[in-house]
Symmetry: C2
Subunit: 151 residues, 2 copies
DNA sequence: TATTGTTATACTCTATAACTATA
DNA sequence: TATAGTTATAGAGTATAACAATA
């Protein structure tokens, strides 16, 4: 097994505290976000899949399952629900007839745009309680957290 | 309705991007952490409740439900499971016989200590992929995220 | 009459195992 | 024989509604 270059640091009080704070905050924030659905008919993972598709363009169900860290049967169900809502299209894979290609529709794109405004309104309410320095720290860390999530 | 002092900033590209990255990262990281259980017999919310108790000392089931953003019946079940595992004690409230007081046991404290080591090992694996500057940003933001989560 | 906590019940989301079709 | 996706089924976790005890 290999250890990170700064493994020793993680035993320091500050880093251990940061790790604890991060874990606790992620679990609790995720619970809040679940309730604050931008579209009442879309689950958090469905939203996440649409976000991934918006970044990737297209993907196969298998790729989506790996990226979202869910099992293939779960992704089958999620994609089917999204298709039923007219948010994605399912097409045959051009080179491998076992696979399928998932693409987001215009309706999904419009919904993502609409949802962004609602998310901003919700988060603005929370950010209101932060001072500018605190918000700056979150803003700086956000892309790093996203990188962490997709490792 | 009142608006945050920096509402305008949230419509800027950078802040909107940060908000999107934060939401996506929180949802995906929470899914990872669910799998990476420090104790296989404890759900993420059970862990979170123990963490809250460690900070607060004691709390009533109702207080815990509000802090963890779950409904009272869910907290009833969670507390009962924790009690069955010998991790919390339930005592009558000294002033109000409707309420109960939840306290963590020594066993819970020892388990939290053990779990911290396991968490560090898991997160160290992820942090390995970050450079020092990136990790510094996460470390700075961690306490702010915790504040955000408990608003 | 309002509030705290509980019981009973149903729903949502995800996983595992077994199956089909294609490579 | 291995891989992509699906179907069927079960389990975990949470919510809502109805109820009991106390304020």
């Amino acid at each position: 097994m290999s250890y990170p270059k700064d493994m020793a640091d993680l035993t320091h009080g500050d880093d251990a505290a940061a790790v604890n704070a991060l874990r606790s905050a992620v679990m609790r924030l995720s619970r809040r976000l679940k309730h604050q659905r931008v579209d009442e008919s879309l689950s958090p993972t469905e939203m996440s899949v649409l976000g991934t598709l918006a970044r990737c363009g297209t993907a196969t169900p298998g790729e989506l399952a790996r990226k979202e860290h869910v099992q293939p049967p779960s992704m089958t169900r999620i994609v089917a629900l999204l298709e039923a809502k007219g948010l994605v299209r399912l097409e045959p894979h051009p080179e491998d007839r076992r696979q399928k290609v998932v693409t987001q529709t215009d309706k999904a794109e419009a919904m993502l745009e609409e949802s962004r405004r609602k998310r901003n309104a919700f988060l603005a309410g929370l950010v209101e309680a932060l001072d500018e320095d605190e918000w700056a720290k979150v803003r700086e860390a956000a892309p790093v957290l996203e990188k962490l999530a997709q490792l």
